[in-house]
Protein backbone atom coordinates (compact mmCIF):
# COMPACT_ATOMS: atom_id res chain seq x y z
CA UNK A 1 0.00 0.00 0.00
CA UNK A 2 2.74 2.44 0.93
CA UNK A 3 4.77 1.19 -2.00
CA UNK A 4 1.96 2.19 -4.31
CA UNK A 5 1.75 5.61 -2.68
CA UNK A 6 5.48 6.12 -3.08
CA UNK A 7 5.39 5.02 -6.72
CA UNK A 8 2.59 7.47 -7.37
CA UNK A 9 4.33 10.43 -5.74
CA UNK A 10 7.55 9.63 -7.58
CA UNK A 11 5.65 9.29 -10.82
CA UNK A 12 3.93 12.63 -10.45
CA UNK A 13 7.20 14.33 -9.51
CA UNK A 14 8.88 12.75 -12.53
CA UNK A 15 6.06 13.99 -14.77
CA UNK A 16 6.33 17.48 -13.30
CA UNK A 17 10.06 17.40 -13.91
CA UNK A 18 9.57 16.51 -17.55
CA UNK A 19 6.79 19.01 -17.98
CA UNK A 20 8.60 21.79 -16.14
CA UNK A 21 6.05 24.41 -17.15
CA UNK A 22 3.65 23.27 -14.43
CA UNK A 23 5.88 24.24 -11.54
CA UNK A 24 6.80 27.56 -12.98
CA UNK A 25 3.26 28.50 -14.00
CA UNK A 26 2.03 28.24 -10.41
CA UNK A 27 5.02 30.12 -9.07
CA UNK A 28 4.87 32.83 -11.68
CA UNK A 29 1.16 33.35 -11.15
CA UNK A 30 1.77 33.75 -7.43
CA UNK A 31 4.42 36.39 -7.99
CA UNK A 32 2.42 38.25 -10.62
CA UNK A 33 -0.75 38.42 -8.54
CA UNK A 34 1.20 39.68 -5.55
CA UNK A 35 2.75 42.35 -7.76
CA UNK A 36 -0.61 43.53 -9.03
CA UNK A 37 -1.87 44.79 -5.71
CA UNK A 38 0.57 47.67 -5.25
CA UNK A 39 -0.20 48.66 -8.83
CA UNK A 40 -3.85 48.75 -8.03
CA UNK A 41 -3.78 50.16 -4.53
CA UNK A 42 -0.71 52.35 -4.46
CA UNK A 43 2.70 51.68 -2.98
CA UNK A 44 2.40 53.52 0.32
CA UNK A 45 4.72 51.50 2.60
CA UNK A 46 2.52 51.41 5.68
CA UNK A 47 -0.46 50.29 3.64
CA UNK A 48 1.56 47.57 1.93
CA UNK A 49 2.89 46.32 5.23
CA UNK A 50 -0.65 46.11 6.53
CA UNK A 51 -2.08 44.21 3.57
CA UNK A 52 0.93 41.95 3.00
CA UNK A 53 -0.27 38.86 4.90
CA UNK A 54 -3.69 38.98 3.27
CA UNK A 55 -2.36 39.60 -0.23
CA UNK A 56 0.23 36.84 -0.02
CA UNK A 57 -2.33 34.42 1.29
CA UNK A 58 -4.89 35.27 -1.38
CA UNK A 59 -2.24 34.95 -4.07
CA UNK A 60 -1.25 31.54 -2.69
CA UNK A 61 -4.88 30.49 -2.67
CA UNK A 62 -5.50 31.54 -6.26
CA UNK A 63 -2.30 29.95 -7.48
CA UNK A 64 -3.14 26.70 -5.74
CA UNK A 65 -6.59 26.70 -7.27
CA UNK A 66 -5.21 27.34 -10.73
CA UNK A 67 -3.07 24.23 -10.61
CA UNK A 68 -5.80 22.06 -9.12
CA UNK A 69 -7.61 21.63 -12.39
CA UNK A 70 -4.64 19.61 -13.61
CA UNK A 71 -4.62 17.26 -10.65
CA UNK A 72 -6.70 14.56 -12.26
CA UNK A 73 -7.38 15.89 -15.74
CA UNK A 74 -4.27 14.59 -17.50
CA UNK A 75 -4.55 11.14 -15.98
CA UNK A 76 -8.23 11.06 -16.81
CA UNK A 77 -7.61 11.94 -20.44
CA UNK A 78 -5.09 9.19 -21.15
CA UNK A 79 -6.80 6.48 -19.11
CA UNK A 80 -4.26 6.17 -16.31
CA UNK A 81 -6.74 7.42 -13.72
CA UNK A 82 -9.01 4.44 -14.36
CA UNK A 83 -6.10 2.13 -13.77
CA UNK A 84 -5.47 3.80 -10.44
CA UNK A 85 -9.03 3.06 -9.42
CA UNK A 86 -8.29 -0.56 -10.19
CA UNK A 87 -4.95 -0.52 -8.44
CA UNK A 88 -3.66 -2.39 -5.45
CA UNK A 89 -4.06 0.43 -2.97
CA UNK A 90 -7.31 1.88 -1.58
CA UNK A 91 -8.42 4.89 -3.58
CA UNK A 92 -8.10 7.15 -0.55
CA UNK A 93 -4.37 6.42 -0.41
CA UNK A 94 -4.02 7.03 -4.14
CA UNK A 95 -5.75 10.39 -3.79
CA UNK A 96 -3.64 11.38 -0.80
CA UNK A 97 -0.50 10.52 -2.75
CA UNK A 98 -1.58 12.63 -5.71
CA UNK A 99 -2.48 15.55 -3.44
CA UNK A 100 0.90 15.24 -1.73
CA UNK A 101 2.69 15.35 -5.08
CA UNK A 102 0.54 18.31 -6.09
CA UNK A 103 1.56 20.16 -2.95
CA UNK A 104 5.23 19.41 -3.49
CA UNK A 105 5.02 20.83 -7.00
CA UNK A 106 2.56 23.71 -6.56
CA UNK A 107 2.43 24.48 -2.84
CA UNK A 108 5.89 24.09 -1.39
CA UNK A 109 7.52 26.43 -3.92
CA UNK A 110 5.10 29.13 -2.78
CA UNK A 111 6.17 28.65 0.82
CA UNK A 112 9.79 29.00 -0.23
CA UNK A 113 9.26 32.11 -2.33
CA UNK A 114 6.86 33.88 0.05
CA UNK A 115 9.67 35.56 2.03
CA UNK A 116 10.75 37.31 -1.18
CA UNK A 117 7.26 38.69 -1.69
CA UNK A 118 7.23 39.67 1.96
CA UNK A 119 10.35 41.71 1.28
CA UNK A 120 8.58 43.36 -1.65
CA UNK A 121 5.92 44.48 0.80
CA UNK A 122 8.44 45.38 3.46
CA UNK A 123 6.79 43.10 5.96
CA UNK A 124 8.57 43.24 9.30
CA UNK A 125 11.34 40.62 9.55
CA UNK A 126 10.04 38.79 12.62
CA UNK A 127 6.76 38.14 10.81
CA UNK A 128 8.40 36.28 7.93
CA UNK A 129 8.69 33.18 10.07
CA UNK A 130 5.05 33.16 11.05
CA UNK A 131 4.06 33.79 7.43
CA UNK A 132 6.13 30.89 6.17
CA UNK A 133 4.83 28.60 8.88
CA UNK A 134 1.23 29.54 8.21
CA UNK A 135 1.72 28.82 4.51
CA UNK A 136 3.53 25.57 5.29
CA UNK A 137 0.57 24.40 7.34
CA UNK A 138 -2.08 25.87 5.07
CA UNK A 139 -1.02 25.04 1.51
CA UNK A 140 -1.27 21.25 2.01
CA UNK A 141 -4.82 21.78 3.23
CA UNK A 142 -5.54 23.75 0.05
CA UNK A 143 -4.21 20.88 -2.06
CA UNK A 144 -6.07 18.20 -0.24
CA UNK A 145 -9.42 19.95 0.02
CA UNK A 146 -9.11 21.29 -3.49
CA UNK A 147 -8.76 17.70 -4.67
CA UNK A 148 -12.41 17.17 -3.76
CA UNK A 149 -13.42 19.94 -6.13
CA UNK A 150 -11.05 18.69 -8.83
CA UNK A 151 -12.59 15.23 -8.59
CA UNK A 152 -16.17 16.50 -8.68
CA UNK A 153 -15.61 18.69 -11.74
CA UNK A 154 -13.54 16.16 -13.69
CA UNK A 155 -14.24 16.37 -17.38
CA UNK A 156 -16.92 19.05 -17.14
CA UNK A 157 -17.10 22.05 -19.41
CA UNK A 158 -16.39 25.26 -17.53
CA UNK A 159 -14.31 23.09 -15.26
CA UNK A 160 -11.81 25.65 -14.00
CA UNK A 161 -14.29 28.34 -13.00
CA UNK A 162 -16.72 25.83 -11.57
CA UNK A 163 -13.88 24.32 -9.56
CA UNK A 164 -13.06 27.73 -8.12
CA UNK A 165 -16.68 28.36 -7.15
CA UNK A 166 -16.91 25.03 -5.36
CA UNK A 167 -13.63 25.24 -3.58
CA UNK A 168 -13.33 28.89 -2.50
CA UNK A 169 -15.95 28.74 0.28
CA UNK A 170 -14.10 25.75 1.69
CA UNK A 171 -10.84 27.68 1.58
CA UNK A 172 -12.15 30.61 3.63
CA UNK A 173 -11.31 29.19 7.09
CA UNK A 174 -7.73 28.44 6.04
CA UNK A 175 -7.33 31.92 4.58
CA UNK A 176 -8.74 33.59 7.67
CA UNK A 177 -6.58 31.61 10.06
CA UNK A 178 -3.46 31.82 7.95
CA UNK A 179 -3.50 35.54 7.32
CA UNK A 180 -4.91 36.09 10.80
CA UNK A 181 -1.99 34.35 12.43
CA UNK A 182 0.44 36.74 10.80
CA UNK A 183 -1.67 39.73 11.76
CA UNK A 184 -1.88 38.59 15.34
CA UNK A 185 1.89 38.34 15.41
CA UNK A 186 2.08 41.77 13.83
CA UNK A 187 -0.10 43.19 16.59
CA UNK A 188 2.26 41.75 19.18
CA UNK A 189 -0.09 38.92 20.14
CA UNK A 190 0.77 35.24 20.20
CA UNK A 191 -0.22 33.48 16.94
CA UNK A 192 0.16 30.09 18.56
CA UNK A 193 -3.56 29.46 18.81
CA UNK A 194 -4.17 30.13 15.12
CA UNK A 195 -1.21 28.05 14.02
CA UNK A 196 -2.33 25.20 16.22
CA UNK A 197 -5.79 25.45 14.69
CA UNK A 198 -4.25 25.28 11.24
CA UNK A 199 -2.38 22.21 12.31
CA UNK A 200 -5.69 20.76 13.37
CA UNK A 201 -7.19 21.65 9.98
CA UNK A 202 -4.32 19.81 8.35
CA UNK A 203 -4.79 16.67 10.42
CA UNK A 204 -8.54 16.58 9.91
CA UNK A 205 -8.21 17.32 6.20
CA UNK A 206 -5.67 14.54 5.71
CA UNK A 207 -7.92 12.15 7.60
CA UNK A 208 -11.19 12.89 5.79
CA UNK A 209 -10.72 14.75 2.54
CA UNK A 210 -9.15 11.79 0.66
CA UNK A 211 -12.24 9.73 1.42
CA UNK A 212 -14.53 12.41 0.01
CA UNK A 213 -12.24 12.80 -3.00
CA UNK A 214 -12.21 9.05 -3.62
CA UNK A 215 -16.01 8.99 -3.53
CA UNK A 216 -16.10 11.96 -5.90
CA UNK A 217 -13.69 10.24 -8.32
CA UNK A 218 -15.81 7.13 -8.42
CA UNK A 219 -18.86 9.25 -9.15
CA UNK A 220 -17.08 11.17 -11.89
CA UNK A 221 -15.63 8.14 -13.58
CA UNK A 222 -18.82 6.19 -13.94
Amino acid sequence: MLAVARTLVERDLLLALRRKSDVFTALLFFVIVASLFPLGIGAEPNQLRAIAPGVIWVAALLSSMLSLARLFAADHADGTLEQMLLGAAPLGIVVAAKAAAHWLVSGLPLVLIAPLIALQYDLERPLHGVLALSLLLGTPVLSIIGAIGAALTLGLRGGGILLSLLVLPLYVPVLIMGAGAVEMAGAGLDPGGQLLLMGAFLVVAVAFAPLATAAALRISLE
Binding site: L166, A212, A215, S220
Partner: protein, 235 residues
Protein backbone atom coordinates in the same frame (compact mmCIF):
# COMPACT_ATOMS: atom_id res chain seq x y z
CA UNK B 1 -38.90 -3.29 10.43
CA UNK B 2 -42.58 -2.58 10.67
CA UNK B 3 -45.35 -1.08 8.61
CA UNK B 4 -43.93 2.31 9.56
CA UNK B 5 -40.80 1.87 7.45
CA UNK B 6 -42.73 0.28 4.63
CA UNK B 7 -44.87 3.40 4.50
CA UNK B 8 -41.80 5.63 4.05
CA UNK B 9 -40.50 3.59 1.17
CA UNK B 10 -43.92 3.66 -0.42
CA UNK B 11 -43.64 7.43 -0.62
CA UNK B 12 -40.06 7.25 -1.80
CA UNK B 13 -41.35 6.33 -5.22
CA UNK B 14 -41.71 9.51 -7.26
CA UNK B 15 -44.97 8.36 -8.78
CA UNK B 16 -46.66 7.91 -5.43
CA UNK B 17 -45.17 11.06 -4.00
CA UNK B 18 -46.54 13.22 -6.80
CA UNK B 19 -50.12 13.61 -5.54
CA UNK B 20 -48.95 14.00 -1.94
CA UNK B 21 -46.65 16.79 -3.03
CA UNK B 22 -49.57 18.57 -4.64
CA UNK B 23 -51.64 18.45 -1.49
CA UNK B 24 -48.72 19.56 0.66
CA UNK B 25 -48.05 22.46 -1.68
CA UNK B 26 -51.57 23.78 -1.35
CA UNK B 27 -51.75 23.39 2.42
CA UNK B 28 -48.34 24.88 3.15
CA UNK B 29 -48.89 27.67 0.65
CA UNK B 30 -51.93 28.77 2.58
CA UNK B 31 -50.16 28.46 5.93
CA UNK B 32 -47.25 30.44 4.52
CA UNK B 33 -49.48 33.38 3.69
CA UNK B 34 -51.19 33.25 7.08
CA UNK B 35 -48.03 33.03 9.18
CA UNK B 36 -46.05 35.58 7.24
CA UNK B 37 -48.82 38.15 7.35
CA UNK B 38 -49.36 37.52 11.04
CA UNK B 39 -45.68 37.82 11.77
CA UNK B 40 -45.27 40.99 9.76
CA UNK B 41 -48.28 42.50 11.47
CA UNK B 42 -46.78 41.77 14.87
CA UNK B 43 -43.42 43.03 13.75
CA UNK B 44 -44.55 46.23 12.16
CA UNK B 45 -47.45 47.25 14.34
CA UNK B 46 -47.31 45.47 17.67
CA UNK B 47 -43.65 45.35 18.60
CA UNK B 48 -42.22 48.47 20.25
CA UNK B 49 -39.94 50.95 18.52
CA UNK B 50 -36.25 50.43 19.14
CA UNK B 51 -34.59 52.98 21.42
CA UNK B 52 -31.43 53.41 19.33
CA UNK B 53 -32.39 52.50 15.79
CA UNK B 54 -35.94 53.81 15.49
CA UNK B 55 -38.31 52.32 12.96
CA UNK B 56 -35.60 51.19 10.55
CA UNK B 57 -34.74 48.23 12.74
CA UNK B 58 -38.00 46.56 11.78
CA UNK B 59 -36.27 45.09 8.77
CA UNK B 60 -35.01 42.33 11.08
CA UNK B 61 -38.46 40.78 10.96
CA UNK B 62 -37.57 39.75 7.45
CA UNK B 63 -33.79 39.60 7.77
CA UNK B 64 -33.49 37.21 10.70
CA UNK B 65 -36.10 34.66 9.57
CA UNK B 66 -34.57 34.66 6.10
CA UNK B 67 -31.13 34.02 7.58
CA UNK B 68 -32.49 31.20 9.75
CA UNK B 69 -34.20 29.61 6.74
CA UNK B 70 -31.13 29.94 4.54
CA UNK B 71 -29.17 27.84 7.02
CA UNK B 72 -32.01 25.47 7.73
CA UNK B 73 -32.67 24.71 4.09
CA UNK B 74 -29.02 23.89 3.43
CA UNK B 75 -29.05 21.45 6.31
CA UNK B 76 -32.24 19.86 5.00
CA UNK B 77 -30.66 19.54 1.56
CA UNK B 78 -27.65 17.85 3.15
CA UNK B 79 -30.06 15.55 4.97
CA UNK B 80 -31.63 14.53 1.66
CA UNK B 81 -28.15 14.03 0.24
CA UNK B 82 -27.32 11.63 3.06
CA UNK B 83 -30.59 9.78 2.59
CA UNK B 84 -29.89 9.51 -1.12
CA UNK B 85 -26.52 7.89 -0.50
CA UNK B 86 -27.82 5.56 2.17
CA UNK B 87 -31.04 4.46 0.50
CA UNK B 88 -30.28 5.03 -3.18
CA UNK B 89 -33.64 6.76 -3.68
CA UNK B 90 -34.08 9.03 -6.70
CA UNK B 91 -36.57 11.24 -4.89
CA UNK B 92 -34.00 12.45 -2.35
CA UNK B 93 -31.91 14.00 -5.10
CA UNK B 94 -35.00 15.66 -6.53
CA UNK B 95 -35.82 17.09 -3.11
CA UNK B 96 -32.35 18.56 -2.79
CA UNK B 97 -32.55 20.10 -6.26
CA UNK B 98 -35.98 21.54 -5.54
CA UNK B 99 -34.91 23.18 -2.31
CA UNK B 100 -31.75 24.77 -3.66
CA UNK B 101 -33.21 27.82 -5.43
CA UNK B 102 -35.39 28.69 -2.42
CA UNK B 103 -32.40 28.34 -0.12
CA UNK B 104 -30.42 30.66 -2.35
CA UNK B 105 -33.36 33.08 -2.39
CA UNK B 106 -33.55 33.14 1.39
CA UNK B 107 -29.82 33.79 1.55
CA UNK B 108 -30.16 36.60 -0.93
CA UNK B 109 -33.06 38.13 1.01
CA UNK B 110 -30.99 37.96 4.18
CA UNK B 111 -28.12 39.71 2.43
CA UNK B 112 -30.32 42.32 0.81
CA UNK B 113 -32.27 43.17 3.96
CA UNK B 114 -29.00 43.22 5.86
CA UNK B 115 -27.75 45.77 3.39
CA UNK B 116 -30.96 47.81 3.68
CA UNK B 117 -30.53 47.80 7.43
CA UNK B 118 -26.96 48.93 7.14
CA UNK B 119 -27.71 52.09 5.21
CA UNK B 120 -29.84 54.02 7.72
CA UNK B 121 -28.00 52.55 10.70
CA UNK B 122 -24.34 52.73 9.72
CA UNK B 123 -24.44 54.85 6.59
CA UNK B 124 -23.04 52.17 4.27
CA UNK B 125 -24.73 49.74 1.90
CA UNK B 126 -22.64 46.82 3.08
CA UNK B 127 -21.23 45.87 6.44
CA UNK B 128 -18.61 43.18 6.82
CA UNK B 129 -20.04 41.81 10.00
CA UNK B 130 -19.89 38.14 10.93
CA UNK B 131 -23.40 37.17 10.00
CA UNK B 132 -23.56 38.94 6.65
CA UNK B 133 -20.16 37.60 5.64
CA UNK B 134 -21.19 34.07 6.58
CA UNK B 135 -24.39 34.51 4.59
CA UNK B 136 -22.36 35.62 1.60
CA UNK B 137 -20.25 32.48 1.75
CA UNK B 138 -23.42 30.43 2.17
CA UNK B 139 -24.71 32.01 -1.03
CA UNK B 140 -21.56 30.83 -2.80
CA UNK B 141 -22.17 27.34 -1.44
CA UNK B 142 -25.70 27.37 -2.88
CA UNK B 143 -24.51 28.70 -6.23
CA UNK B 144 -21.75 26.10 -6.28
CA UNK B 145 -24.26 23.29 -5.79
CA UNK B 146 -26.65 24.61 -8.41
CA UNK B 147 -23.84 25.23 -10.91
CA UNK B 148 -22.36 21.76 -10.40
CA UNK B 149 -25.68 20.00 -10.82
CA UNK B 150 -26.50 22.11 -13.87
CA UNK B 151 -23.22 21.38 -15.65
CA UNK B 152 -23.42 17.60 -15.45
CA UNK B 153 -25.54 16.14 -18.22
CA UNK B 154 -25.71 12.60 -16.90
CA UNK B 155 -28.47 12.72 -14.30
CA UNK B 156 -27.20 10.04 -11.96
CA UNK B 157 -23.75 11.58 -11.83
CA UNK B 158 -25.27 15.02 -11.23
CA UNK B 159 -27.37 13.74 -8.34
CA UNK B 160 -24.50 11.95 -6.66
CA UNK B 161 -21.96 14.70 -7.22
CA UNK B 162 -24.35 17.32 -5.85
CA UNK B 163 -25.09 15.16 -2.84
CA UNK B 164 -21.40 14.74 -2.07
CA UNK B 165 -20.84 18.47 -2.38
CA UNK B 166 -23.70 19.14 0.06
CA UNK B 167 -22.28 16.77 2.63
CA UNK B 168 -18.82 18.31 2.35
CA UNK B 169 -20.41 21.77 2.58
CA UNK B 170 -22.56 21.05 5.61
CA UNK B 171 -19.57 19.76 7.52
CA UNK B 172 -17.62 22.88 6.68
CA UNK B 173 -20.33 25.36 7.63
CA UNK B 174 -19.62 25.38 11.37
CA UNK B 175 -15.91 25.77 10.61
CA UNK B 176 -16.58 28.65 8.23
CA UNK B 177 -18.93 30.25 10.72
CA UNK B 178 -16.44 30.07 13.55
CA UNK B 179 -13.59 31.37 11.38
CA UNK B 180 -15.62 34.31 10.14
CA UNK B 181 -16.69 35.20 13.66
CA UNK B 182 -13.10 35.12 14.85
CA UNK B 183 -12.05 37.17 11.82
CA UNK B 184 -14.66 39.74 12.69
CA UNK B 185 -13.42 40.17 16.25
CA UNK B 186 -9.84 40.37 15.02
CA UNK B 187 -10.55 43.23 12.66
CA UNK B 188 -13.39 45.24 14.00
CA UNK B 189 -14.09 44.38 17.56
CA UNK B 190 -17.71 44.02 18.58
CA UNK B 191 -18.77 47.47 17.41
CA UNK B 192 -20.50 46.86 14.12
CA UNK B 193 -23.12 44.19 14.03
CA UNK B 194 -26.22 43.71 11.95
CA UNK B 195 -28.20 42.13 14.71
CA UNK B 196 -30.33 42.96 17.64
CA UNK B 197 -27.79 42.16 20.30
CA UNK B 198 -29.36 43.55 23.46
CA UNK B 199 -32.59 42.47 25.13
CA UNK B 200 -35.48 41.65 22.90
CA UNK B 201 -39.07 42.32 23.86
CA UNK B 202 -41.24 39.18 23.72
CA UNK B 203 -43.34 40.61 20.92
CA UNK B 204 -40.20 41.03 18.80
CA UNK B 205 -39.35 37.36 19.16
CA UNK B 206 -42.93 36.38 18.42
CA UNK B 207 -42.89 38.45 15.26
CA UNK B 208 -39.68 36.86 14.04
CA UNK B 209 -40.83 33.34 14.86
CA UNK B 210 -44.11 33.83 13.03
CA UNK B 211 -42.39 35.14 9.93
CA UNK B 212 -39.86 32.31 10.17
CA UNK B 213 -42.71 29.82 10.28
CA UNK B 214 -44.25 31.56 7.29
CA UNK B 215 -40.99 31.35 5.33
CA UNK B 216 -40.67 27.71 6.25
CA UNK B 217 -44.15 26.93 4.95
CA UNK B 218 -43.36 28.92 1.81
CA UNK B 219 -40.17 26.94 1.24
CA UNK B 220 -42.02 23.65 1.55
CA UNK B 221 -44.76 24.84 -0.79
CA UNK B 222 -42.33 25.98 -3.48
CA UNK B 223 -40.17 22.86 -3.08
CA UNK B 224 -43.24 20.68 -3.55
CA UNK B 225 -44.19 22.48 -6.74
CA UNK B 226 -40.64 22.08 -8.07
CA UNK B 227 -40.47 18.43 -7.11
CA UNK B 228 -43.65 17.82 -9.07
CA UNK B 229 -42.02 19.46 -12.10
CA UNK B 230 -38.91 17.31 -11.64
CA UNK B 231 -41.02 14.16 -11.38
CA UNK B 232 -42.97 15.04 -14.50
CA UNK B 233 -39.77 15.71 -16.42
CA UNK B 234 -37.98 12.57 -15.41
CA UNK B 235 -40.44 9.77 -14.88
Amino acid sequence: MTTQSIKWFWFASPATFYPLAGTLARVTGLLAAVFTLAGLYVGFFVAPTDAQQGEAYRIIYVHVPAAWMSMFIYVVMAFWAAVGFAMQTRLSAMMARSLAPTGALMTFIALWTGSLWGKPTWGTWWVWDARLTSELILLFLYFGYMALVASIDERRRADKAGALLLLVGVVNIPIIHYSVQWWNTLHQGASVSVSKGSSMAPSMLTGMLLVALGFWMYSIAVAMVRVRCEIRENE
